[in-house]
Amino acid sequence: MRPYTVALAGNPNTGKSTLFNTLTGLRQHTGNWAGKTVVSAEGEFIHEDTAFRMIDLPGTYSLYSNSADEEVARDYIIFEQPDVTIVVLDATSLERNLNLALQVLEMTSRVVVCINLMDEAKKLGIRVDTDQIERQLGVPVVAVSARNKTGIDTLLDKVAEIASGSHVPKPVPVIYNDDIEKKIAQLEPLIRQTLGDRFPARWVALRLLDEDESLISSLRAKLHEQPATEQKEEIRYGRTACH
């Protein structure tokens, strides 16, 4: 069986590569500046006899400001459709980090939110109520310290549950004002007609309303290269890159 694919998304410097290295045994460079991930690295790991392929995406604050990094991360999530996306958050700066989490939750429901740097948070006297965050987001939330390797097993259990389909999260949707919601409702059926069920129609509607030219041209290129009936692109196998 093909391994499940797991993507790591998150703001810069939240410990994605550290987590990636811990799990895959690869040494993707980590650190503040020199080690910033620019291309996505890939590696494999086994959890409870199940194989996973992990993709370390570049860190971004958003998926909509159209920098090269953001396009890489956005296109990966929307076009490659990983079995699970782990959104890595910095426990010491949750407010800003949750922006990206909400953006990813609009694109896919197969998400585990991983709150990293819990050791730092503790030092600063920050207490994180993961149950409450889990209720408000509607997806599993796990607190970890990638550096001290705490919480990793729980994280992987959640990832495995979502990958196998034994748990199907229901993210709490962001509701916009009446004006926007009305337009989304108008666009959604047209988008389903044109694109089928390959892409989340609500999310595509929002991008169209946002006049997101970059997404529209990516989408156009994608439609051109593969027939509309194909569900998921065959994933290139066993490619690893180390930076």
Binding site: Y61, S62, Y64, S65, N66, T92, S93, E95, R96, N99
Partner: protein, 85 residues
Amino acid sequence: MTTSSSLSLADASTGSYIRLERIEVQGVLRRRLLDLGFVPGNVIEVMQKSPLGDPTAFRVNNTTIALRIEESSLIFGYYEESDER
């Protein structure tokens, strides 16, 4: 210093806190600013101006961001008494 009328971040005095009210920057940069935490309701600290007076550093969601006057003059808010964020 307290005032009830709104002012732009470009006019705010160093060391003050501003509760944001509206962002009039447009396009991709608007998106970027929102993503960094320049959202209505959020409180921003005005840090120091660079030697030539531009750009100015702002503290938003625990991160320091430098803005040129072209942007900061289009972001509006009110002075906030406390440093509550």
